[in-house]
Symmetry: C2
Subunit: 440 residues, 2 copies
Amino acid sequence: MAEHKNRPRVVIVGGGFGGLHAAQALRRAEVDVTLVDRSNYHLFQPLLYQVATGALSPANIASPLRSILRRQRNTVVLQAEATGFDLSGQRLLLADGQLPYDYLVVAAGATHSHFGHDEWEPLAPGLKTIDHATEIRARVLSAFERAERATDPDEQQRLLSFVIVGGGPTGVELAGALSELSRHTLRHEFRRVSPESARIHLVDAAPCVLSNYPQDLSDKARGFLERLDVTVHPHTLVTGITPHGVTLKRDDTETDLPAATVLWAAGVKASPLAKKLADAAGGETDRAGRISVNDDLSLPDFDNVLVIGDMARVLDDNDAPLPGVAPVAIQQGKYVARAIRNRIAGAVTKPFRYRDRGSMATVGRSAAVVDLGRFKFAGFFAWLCWLFLHLMLLVSFQNRILVLVQWMWSYVTHGRAARLITGRRPDAEQGADAAKPNGA
Amino acid sequence: MAEHKNRPRVVIVGGGFGGLHAAQALRRAEVDVTLVDRSNYHLFQPLLYQVATGALSPANIASPLRSILRRQRNTVVLQAEATGFDLSGQRLLLADGQLPYDYLVVAAGATHSHFGHDEWEPLAPGLKTIDHATEIRARVLSAFERAERATDPDEQQRLLSFVIVGGGPTGVELAGALSELSRHTLRHEFRRVSPESARIHLVDAAPCVLSNYPQDLSDKARGFLERLDVTVHPHTLVTGITPHGVTLKRDDTETDLPAATVLWAAGVKASPLAKKLADAAGGETDRAGRISVNDDLSLPDFDNVLVIGDMARVLDDNDAPLPGVAPVAIQQGKYVARAIRNRIAGAVTKPFRYRDRGSMATVGRSAAVVDLGRFKFAGFFAWLCWLFLHLMLLVSFQNRILVLVQWMWSYVTHGRAARLITGRRPDAEQGADAAKPNGA
């Protein structure tokens, strides 16, 4: 038993970037840490799009939380589903029990928001979990399989049309990978259709892709995408999604775009736990479902409850909310660990300040954009930086080797090692229009 | 388009060892080949137990059929479900269409047989597909997770009890891998339970494990298992399976063994397509669901229909049916390809004869038994032979590298890279008795 009777109990909800770094930063603290997650692994979400497009296996980017924290003797990992909060009783409520705490760190992350259209969810899956990624992988690969069996040219073209909603980093990376998949990986594998004839559409309401990046990098990214034959639809809204395709709206004109596969890379909203926490604390959530916190990331009336990562609404110097990216969550996780240690020692902690070290996004093979604030660059060298950084950020050394082998292999052969259609459930078919029977 | 108007059409059902080797052996034949499989990949089943126990990722042992056959221009791969046969019309019936053929090769393999107890299927999953393997992996890992949260010692022990039904190669390999997982991989990762206290039971009605092997190798295998703390129950029948455990019967005495995880490695039966084919041909199937064929593997009244692999009942020189193993299917696949080529050329083909080159099974890390007929050996060298052979048999070169890296890593660190609980469906929980709430 790792628990000590008199040590403060720190309960952390969520084993993503924020929760995991908070737990790790409490390694030497005189506390008993319990990390609760409904999955048994920490997921390296920035590479999830590579699982969705068959370049990597799920386990390459997911490490068991127990394994990461095995040497940290003051920490217990529990696989459980947090369902609510008893803040005055200092208990975290679980689907099948509860956990008392002295300090609570809530880091449950974000999920998709289909802008109020819940009916779009099954038609346009988002990319947040391993199960999402394998589902998207199955849909993408099945679309090519069904195209090979289709006899009607219109239906073939519909099956080979892919729409990605959202031109942020995830949307851009997905579009680049889908282009690579159809133009190169699958090139010689079909007999009746040409995978190269696949159309990839990237739709965003903003005037450009990567709209959070400086204009010149955003333009570069668009150039890279067009070189990859991706059709970028700026200034465009998605007003309808059906099993047959999407309805796009630009300048008050609506057009139907037939497409069998629609992927959602647009809005996210905080985990529903944020709303429950706000209700329990008498606070409020913003439009993105995030909960407002003090400048030390604690809840206004419960200073032993700390909220970090995608769930927390924290403003930068320009009063804009910090973005939902890994570096924010990591810095906040480390910060709350320090704040807890200080609190126990009777010391004060300065307010949290995010130190923006820059951001990067990749566009297909051998191109990326990197924004380090003072330095901005794009192209092949940016891509090498992206590769190196992401390889180093992977938690497990073995996974670094496995990912490196697969990346090198893909670079040389255009192959993708993990192109499996698995785990299909009957209700997962994208609509009613299965491939037409094929008589020869 | 690869099809030629006047060339004979060969349709192959199933992309396992038999079907794939038949297709590959027709590479240079003047025929149009269509390979139909409901999955998009060829699965290397002998290593499936390593996926089920978290040592390898699914994609490491599964290669897309299209990718394997990409350079074979006379071959089309279709992902489709075969549902029946119109033998006089020479058409294979699909769930959504049909395919005319001149020659039909049926190689749809085998599935589990729970000895008439269909109600055991959800309680004791077998190991034939990727989805089975990830489901078993999730059950095994979840049992440890639930044990960590359980408070009742009896319930903890039940959660840490694993029963494997069937002492053939799959059962022995699973038992060895589970022992390695609990004794080594998970050793330092839990705080409230000791994974080392897990009990692994291997149950078989036969007097020994690996009962198809020579007695001395079978004894050796049992010795290896006992060294790994696996409890072997010979002469024992399973008479009941519930969510709480199993009922074992030996010498007319029944005992209940509480166990949260039960795995099925016992009977197999031929794919239901064998029965449909027998009905269509006016033939019969044996107790294992296999269909009797001529000595050239054709159906008695339809000599253009060839049945191979686990679906075919073929007798050896002692009038015993050939076992359902990969080498039989591979030799039969190559044989029917040759028979078809001969038939087209007007030549005769000698009856099929299986050339038994031996068999091997591994027991945990660093022990295996190898039976080459004249040469028999067991232990570390046998294990090295096993490793090398299985590595070489993998279809894709990249997968050989990835598997080698993971095996070397596991050997040195006892780690297992792919320990993910994914794709759980609500109905997949092993029964009604979830872990007890845990108050601290």
